[in-house]
């Protein structure tokens, strides 16, 4: 089997490595496919559905982050339908919790906010849920604000896969899903948290933040996570 394959992305012929996902292949060529749950270096989960693309000959939409490239694959990353669906998904996220961007620690540095701007979401047509979502301020250094959580599980994965602590997981189901620390403990009471802060740095929104950072101050350094994973990979 050839190591390299040729695929078409939006009509353009590109080369990709076998084993790469569509998202990796596209990103390597500088192409943009929106995503929120994906973070390079962590196991892709295909949960946010923003990276859905159309693949010729396949009836359903496929997540670019988990679908491996195949030789001769023709991928469409932009279409009227995909644009509409992506906007709707973003709107659903905004409607789900209380994203008060204006006063958020991650204002102007938030991936959700940036995607909304980029994809032209100017309002949320769905009624807001305005749920009661709490905060966990117990940790000395960090804060969990459920109001801003989009359940992308990057923190869950980075903690389990990179740090090896598995402090975070998702409890409940459906609309009642929420991030929990271990078996629903206060963060400060965690027995496995190493205080490494990788979860904070991988979080795309203001859900996980450093304590004491005021509005607009929380800039996440997701690329450090990716670099760390790559460095580990080299070591291994």
């Amino acid at each position: 089997m050839p190591d390299r394959v040729s695929i078409r992305i939006d009509g353009e012929l590109l080369h990709a490595r076998l084993g790469q996902t569509i998202l990796e292949a596209a990103t390597a060529q500088g192409r943009f496919i929106p995503s929120l749950c994906h973070l390079k270096g962590l196991t892709p989960v295909g949960a946010c559905r923003l990276c859905l693309v159309e693949v010729a000959g396949i009836g359903r939409l496929l997540p670019a982050c988990t679908t491996p490239v195949q030789d001769g694959m023709a991928v469409t990353t932009r279409s009227d339908r995909l644009d509409r669906y992506r906007r709707m998904i973003l709107e659903l996220l905004f409607a789900e919790r209380n994203h008060v961007c204006a006063v958020c620690v991650s204002n102007n540095h938030c991936e959700l906010q940036a995607l909304a701007r980029r994809l032209g979401v100017t309002h949320v047509r769905f009624p807001y849920s305005f749920p009661k979502a709490g905060t966990d301020l117990s940790h000395r250094q960090f804060v969990l604000d459920q109001n801003r959580c989009i359940l992308c599980t990057r923190c869950v994965r980075v903690c389990a896969e990179v740090e090896g602590a598995h402090v975070w997981d998702v409890a409940g189901r459906g609309i009642g899903s929420r991030l929990v620390c271990e078996l629903n403990r206060a963060w400060a009471d965690s027995r496995s948290c190493t205080g490494c802060g990788k979860c904070v740095q991988s979080c795309p929104t203001g859900a996980l933040a450093m304590k004491g950072f005021a509005a607009e101050e929380m800039v996440k350094r997701t690329e450090t996570i990716t670099r760390l994973v790559e460095a580990k990979g080299v070591r291994a």
């Binding site: 008060v100 961007c101 958020c104 906010q113 701007r117 100017t122 305005f130």
Partner: protein, 176 residues
């Protein structure tokens, strides 16, 4: 050419969006001959007039007064713009939405005072259960998010509307 009849309305917001409108600065002087400001915090008009071309609404819908005014605005305006995050998303005013209004008011007017421990009820509008974005109570023609939206975006919207075009805001505005 007749002047465009423009109104500005402010519901449950901080006036920041109106201030951002004023931040057009000298551009306001250029705008003055093209528009007639028929209602708003900057002008003396008691009733929201009929036949308004464009109404900019700042603020979330939070009380019964807000709701009524929003409905009047819709009935009497050709084009309604939700201006700023409070009108678009309910923003900071919505932070009260998890709390029953009664509790909220009692905290302020019963627990929070030294004299006359009681919630005002005479001549003041009742609070709605939740503060809502404008489009959840009336049809909105254009949304301009931002806290506040930048003056440039507001200027762009006004000039496009005056030119009879529908402004395309993709990439120009954001929440927050």
């Amino acid at each position: 050419m007749s002047r465009a009849r423009i109104a500005t309305v402010w519901l449950d917001g901080c006036s920041g969006c109106h201030m951002s409108l004023l931040d057009l600065d000298e551009a306001l002087i250029g705008l003055a001959p093209k528009i007639e400001l028929v209602f708003g915090p900057l002008v003396d008009a008691q009733e929201f007039p009929e036949g308004v071309d464009v109404t900019f609404v700042e603020g979330a819908v939070s009380s019964h007064d807000d709701l009524r005014l929003a409905q009047t605005v819709r009935a009497r305006s050709r084009f309604v713009v939700a201006l700023g995050d409070c009108a678009v998303t309910a923003n900071v005013p919505s932070m009260r939405n998890q709390i029953p209004p009664k509790k909220l008011l009692e905290r302020i007017y019963v627990d929070g005072v030294n004299v006359n421990h009681r919630v005002p009820a005479d001549g003041v509008p009742a609070l709605l259960k939740q503060a809502s974005p404008l489009h959840e109570v009336i049809r909105v023609d254009l949304h301009v998010p931002g806290c506040p939206p930048p003056a440039a975006a507001i200027g762009y919207v006004i000039s496009e509307l005056l030119a009879g075009r529908r402004p395309d805001l993709a990439g120009k505005v954001k929440f927050g």
